[in-house]
């Protein structure tokens, strides 16, 4: 039983870290935000497992949900601006 739980814990931790890394490394704003939302939702799951259901709810609704929605709107604007930018001749699209 406890070995199974430990395996579950390990799996959650590894997935959590992979998602965080993916969100951080992604250059494309929209994908980064979506990965971040996935990370937040998984974090909520982990907290539910750690006997913090209040926090799981808060993280899912606020941390992943509303922060995610805010950043997603910003990323959408950024992508739109970029596209508009690239379509105009003579201006450089940003390459960071």
């Amino acid at each position: 039983m406890s070995e199974l739980l430990l395996l579950f814990d390990l799996l959650l931790t590894v997935t959590l870290l992979v998602l965080a890394t993916a969100a951080i490394m992604s250059r494309e704003p929209r994908r980064a935000v979506i990965l971040y939302i996935a990370f937040g939702l998984l974090l909520a799951l982990v907290w539910a497992r750690l006997r913090a259901p209040d926090l799981a709810l808060a993280e899912a609704a606020i941390g992943a949900g509303l922060s995610g929605a805010l950043m997603l709107a910003a990323a959408r604007r950024a992508t739109a601006a970029k596209r508009q930018h690239a379509s105009q001749p003579g201006t450089k699209g940003e390459t960071s």
């Binding site: 430990l6 814990d9 390990l10 931790t13 959590l16 870290l17 965080a20 890394t21 969100a23 951080i24 704003p29 980064a32 935000v33 971040y36 990370f39 937040g40 974090l43 982990v46 907290w47 750690l50 006997r51 913090a52 209040d54 926090l55 808060a58 993280e59 606020i62 941390g63 509303l66 922060s67 805010l70 950043m71 709107a73 910003a74 990323a75 604007r77 950024a78 601006a81 970029k82 930018h85 940003e94 960071s96």
Partner: protein
Amino acid sequence: MITQFLYGGSGILLFLLGTWSFIVHPPLIRKLIAINVMGAGVFHTLVALAYRGLTAPADPVPHALVLTGIVVAVSATALALAFGQRLDRDHGSSADDD
């Protein structure tokens, strides 16, 4: 105990990942994700430390701290995004300043 170490350790790792990304990635949206991952690391560490096994109830004090932290983080994120949007509007380019 091992659960605390596993999750607490991953919290520290998240904190460092966030810090690193905050330092090296200039675009605003990436900095904000970095700050939020950093915060998630701190919160995750606190939640892991509050955990006292499957049978005992967890320590409610760190939980309350984390809840406060989550709300503060979303406030800061919203404000920073509004700053970024204001810069876009003035400049007509994306928020990739500094």
